[in-house]
Amino acid sequence: MSADSPSGVIGRVVATELKPSTPHQFFFWTPQDSPIGIGAIVRVEAEDRTVFGVVTDGFAYSDLQTPMHAVLGADGDPGAPEPPTRRAEIRLYAAAVLRHIPEEPVQPVPLGAVHLASDGDVVAALRMDSYTGGEKPTGVPIGVYAAGGLEAPIYVDADFLLGPEAAHLNITGVSGLATKTSAVEFFLTGLFQRFPAHKGRIAALCFNVKGPDLCFLDQPSILGEEDLRLYGRLGLKPVPFDRVRYYAPYKADGVNLNTLRTHEALAANTEPLLWGLREVLDYAEVLLNRDDVDAKADAFIDFLAERVVGKQYEDNTLPKSFHVRSFADLDEFFRAIFTLLEEGRGSEVWRTHHIATIRKIRNRLGNISTRSKGLVTDDGEVNDLPWGGFEDRGLYVVDVAGIDPLAQDLVFARIVSKLREHLERRDLGVEHVVVFVDELNKYAPADGPDTYVRKMLLDISERGRYLGLVLFSAQQFRSQVQRRVVGNASTTILGRMDGDELALPSYNTLSPATRARLAALPKGELLVRHPHFTQPIFIRFPRPAVLSGREGIERFPPRAELGFAQAVARRLRALDPSLSADPILDLIAGRREEDVRKALNATVRARPDQPLAFFVKCLGREVKAETVAPRPGVRPIRTSGDPY
């Protein structure tokens, strides 16, 4: 029998006492030129039963009784001519059962003819028929299954990827070869283009945690013919995301964005992420280390949050009323308290709070604005994600790659918390949000301290699906990620894997051949586990239709860091490209940087039709410095000269 048998039969099931068929596994042999390989899906036809299986292992052996016979047959010469007859050889494959039709009674796989799966077979084998058809299909393409010249689209069930039945996606693979980021970009493309309308609106929020990885999701890449063909096969358009907004904190200078996406051509949808005291104080526990936040400190923080920040605070003991809106206001407030206590002759308590507690909180909060400078502003200006105004199919990228770990923690914690709050209130603007976090080995490690970020990630993975908050996550070593975070992911994807990682017991459910294939998996191929698939399936996916980080950096090299004035000019020109730099430079020459920064942030946040005019208005009239003339001295009163 040859592989291209006209009957389509490519093998036969065999069962022996040592290798029997079971309800979940069977063996079959094929000709040597069969296109079968590890991961191929096959169909077994027997009387009254059809069984689908996926090849998990392969064996080849000949009738050679002992290697010594091979030596003798060649007269000890490995270079001896080939014998005239080729030794009989078998290709034997082990397959794991994907599905029986009928499903009941559950019986061992019968002896029968084996066929390569067709498109229809793949749909049936993976139970995709239950969610890709009907009035409300929920299939989302994630790639193609390919084997033996046949190719079939693979869909995952949106109900099991984004909830409510199950949710979350986790991808594991070695750095640089597993194409984790590309895979997520492609999955988001499929999700945005094919997410069923009846399930509502969807948006995605990606944290860019390293380099330029996610910095060019709105820029098209040049795809090869094969990639374009795969897009066509999956019914997707090879286009970049069209509703992308980038957020990045400033650098410490408060005007240059802390991101690699600083090319002028990309400035239109790149804006600063800027938070003030109010935004930070709610998440103070993220920023203060665990030892700091004792009951006394916690009580004082609550006092500040509830009574002081953002409110008009009156206290008879203090010399004036305070309206604390910024770190600067808060510092003034603290100074007033300290002055009061210092003048109070030995009193160490202000409104039941001990001076040491107050000092500690002041130090820690002051430290935040120092360590997170660029993200946290002293002056109260804020530029945040569009809470309540998330767009359907909108992609929001928050670039935290270049900021301090403490600030990263704050960004993660606050954004995820805000997402949850708005989704709970159903006022985010969309019903589903996919949050993509790479480097879970760093942010949700299996060992190490129980950080706030890890708690947030765990919270999303355990409770997010009820809210429509879905975690797409990636890491190099699945074994070193908090078990509950990865364990809650209904869809698990493995790319090219590290051999040591695959040797761990947690991968023993995969056959040795599957593990060997994973260790050498080419780029663009993945192993997918999904609740509907009884066994993991190898898929191939096209390159994402967006620029990769490396390509993007080459095409849109980041601008050199500018001086303060130049950076301000560029930020304004990003709002109105018709502006020229010189008038702006003239305008801010000699002005205090804090004032300019404040005006700039207000302008960026407001996005007015006339940015320059708005900026000028915010900047206010320049108050010229005047030299105060010394007061004339007070003349002595004329006297008689007699001192008495």
Binding site: D63, L64, Q65, H69, A70, A74, P83, T85, R86, R87
Partner: protein, 315 residues
């Protein structure tokens, strides 16, 4: 592939049927299947075709046959299914096939298989209902029933039937190909084989030796890659052939018969002219080595026929 699979019931099915025949006492002791045909050890002096004295002649280096080669062999197995009185009833399955080698790969060209019931006529009559659809071979013996004697007679009948099936299969193959055909055993069993200029018989058995005395010593001590003179066996079998001894493997330190085969071919001048070339072809067939205890003499092509017939036997 020309295949004839008899539509007879399997031996297992026949056993089930026979269990329902009242006069048959079922037997569960099964003699080993495929017993090698036994021959009487003797010396039958042969006539030298190439002038003597008998000597070891080098044939040259192994040389694969440049044409497609085919291999023919047969298998047999039998078992005692029961007794009627003291007379045994044997069930047998015989098969023969030809596998043809093209570009190093062997595939089945012809195969035939038969199932037989063998017993004294009265036993066959008693079990007739259960034996429907099976070829029957009556054991004709004047002697009184002796179960072991009948078993020997039955075995001889199975041997003969298998030989006949092999000849039939060879004839079927000849209808489709005139290529070289190597047969496991002697060509002298069939005049058609013996006269076929493109058939070679490879006899592994040396129960019947062609020489005695010093010549026998020379014959049995042929070095590896050497052959004997061409000779004409003085056989009691039916057809004359040319034959020669050929050592496939070095026997020293092992046994005189180790790697020694008797090659038979048509008794023609062409055979005499080609004897060294034919020997080189056979030497080339030493490898790969067969997965068989007789691998020193069993050509791999023949072995594949046996494997095929055993693998496809319906038990």
């Amino acid at each position: 592939m020309v295949t004839k699979v008899v539509a007879a019931p399997s031996l297992a099915e026949l056993r089930r049927r026979l269990a329902e025949v009242r006069s048959v006492t079922a037997a569960s002791c099964v003699p080993s299947a495929g017993v090698v045909r036994s021959e009487e050890a003797r010396i039958v002096p042969a006539e030298l075709v190439e002038p003597g004295p008998l000597s070891a002649r080098p044939v040259g280096t192994p040389l694969p046959c440049p044409e497609n080669l085919a291999f023919l062999d047969g298998t047999q197995r039998y078992e005692v299914a029961g007794y009627v009185g003291a007379a045994p009833l044997l069930l047998a399955e015989i098969a023969a096939g030809v596998r043809e080698r093209t570009a190093g790969i062997t595939s089945t060209a012809v195969v035939e298989r038969r199932r037989l019931a063998i017993a004294r006529p009265e036993v066959l009559a008693a079990a007739a209902a259960a034996l429907e659809g099976v070829d029957t071979l009556p054991l004709t013996s004047e002697d009184a029933v002796h179960p072991l004697g009948d078993l020997e007679l039955g075995r001889a009948l199975v041997d003969a039937a298998r030989g006949e099936l092999e000849r039939r299969v060879a004839a079927l193959y000849r209808r489709r190909s005139s290529g070289w055909l190597i047969v496991d055993g002697s060509l002298a069993e069939s005049p058609a084989w013996a006269g076929d200029p493109r058939m070679l018989g490879i006899a592994k058995s040396h129960a019947s030796l062609p020489f005695g005395g010093e010549a026998l010593v020379t014959y049995l001590r042929l070095p590896c890659g050497f052959r004997s003179n061409l000779f004409r066996p003085a056989s009691r079998q039916r057809a004359p052939v040319y034959a020669w001894g050929l050592r496939l493997w070095d026997w020293t330190g092992k046994d005189l018969f180790y790697g020694l085969v008797r090659v038979e071919a048509a008794p023609t001048a062409e055979t005499a002219a080609l004897v060294d070339t034919l020997s080189r072809w056979i030497l080339a067939e030493r490898a790969p080595i067969s997965a068989d205890v007789r691998w020193d003499r069993l050509l791999y092509g023949i072995h594949t026929v046996q494997q095929f017939l055993r693998a496809t036997s319906e038990r």
